[in-house]
Symmetry: D2
Subunit: 144 residues, 4 copies
């Protein structure tokens, strides 16, 4: 688990006076990238090794609006992982208002330069081990 802190920006607001819902999708990506840096294997390093991680799908439930200047902690976990398929989950916790703003998940696979799906265990074992450990931590937290 990793918590990415993000300030809600003025240019992210809309005419309802709150953060536009499309920005949360960008924050999910930012959190995921920071998470990989935190794990010690950055997304840029995966790209240098010719591995990309497209988003296969995502879903999000919006619970409370986020306002300009609010600080949101995006808590990221690996909630499913097989080497080939990965699910990442997100809790958007608004620390300014002390409330949960949204929950979300995204699904990913890993592909090489030819766009072919690859198994991280084989192509990036170092990163695979980190994701596997994170997933194990998540499962343990669910059982306890």
């Amino acid at each position: 688990m990793y918590a990415y802190k993000r300030k809600a920006q003025y240019h992210e607001t809309d005419k309802m006076g709150i953060i536009h819902h499309s920005n949360y999708i960008k924050w999910m990506e930012e959190a995921r990238v920071e998470y990989m840096d935190f794990l010690g294997y950055g997304y840029d390093k995966a790209e240098e090794n010719h591995i990309a991680s497209p988003v296969a799908g995502l879903s999000i439930d919006y619970k409370k609006p986020v306002h300009f200047n609010d600080i949101v902690e995006v808590r990221v976990s690996v909630t499913r992982y097989s080497g080939v398929v990965q699910e990442v989950s997100y809790e958007f916790y608004n620390t300014t208002r002390d409330e949960l703003s949204a929950v979300a998940t995204s699904k990913h696979c890993y592909i090489n330069d030819q766009g072919r799906v690859v198994n991280l265990k084989k192509v990036l074992p170092e990163l695979d081990a980190k994701f596997a450990a994170e997933f194990a931590e998540y499962k343990a937290s669910q059982e306890s």
Copy 2:
């Protein structure tokens, strides 16, 4: 059902060379807004009547990447509707490549100026009738 045509823009691409996945969420909103114009009751008119329609949640499955300059037809339908709760569904059909790019749904409620959830049947009966007719059309199409 309504089909909204959209050209994929350069500023929407990312370093993978394809349209960044967050932009689809904006296209969903654009399609929804155009859909309401097409039905004859624009979102601006709802706002003038102090009714807003926040996104309560959404999910999307990405199937094929969209490239710069591709034309995407976003086909919108009302797939659930009660006056209080609405689900809108989207098919992203890439007419340049003749393939389905993505499918998505979004969930909405309707709120007044005080942020309280309202029943469209009561507060905007004209719009309610249009959504109800669209939902009926959708159900009929599923049964046939």
Copy 3:
């Protein structure tokens, strides 16, 4: 000269209730891309020939706010052109409100795959001829 029509989108508004100023920069690019299509030599074709056209600089004066659902006509002209350096100018005319929203210019050069500045006259003579003709038209319009 070419006029690109664009509807101001909900996701482009900010909490002031108007279109956020950063979006005009994206509309400039959209207008430029459509302009090249209109001239018969699209930006995608330039890219296929390994020529890109980065923005070297831009300036914009905002005159009147644009609101959600307004139709803005972005009138594009080539106001300077030498084969190596190009200036494109933009008038943002709000046809919904019948007023000038903004005026802007952007500066461009052309580069090859190695990032080296090239002369369009040499590398893409077909596109060069079109830009030269547009620039001649602009100069003639200024003299009359």
Copy 4:
């Protein structure tokens, strides 16, 4: 003068593989907002006092591309200030690559709820004093 640090995000890249030029405009706003927080009078506080600060114009020169994950320091100064008219200047310094990425300026006025231009000296003397001091510091730095 204030230096705002910003990591270049994946969703800000484009198919040239670099940060899309429109994002710099958003970073300017982010830097301005943080600058006001640093000065001790946040933009949210100005808004609570019914004063907004629209962008009247801006210009930017792009010097070197910024890449995904680069850290950019946006150095903000008040380079013109009269209480009614303000110019803010920006240096985008890429600390990852140790090079200047861009320089920019933006022009602002201050308006009340009726959209009328106001003099900060009269309506927000506390903020006016801070901007005046920053402008004095800038002028002194230019003379030395």
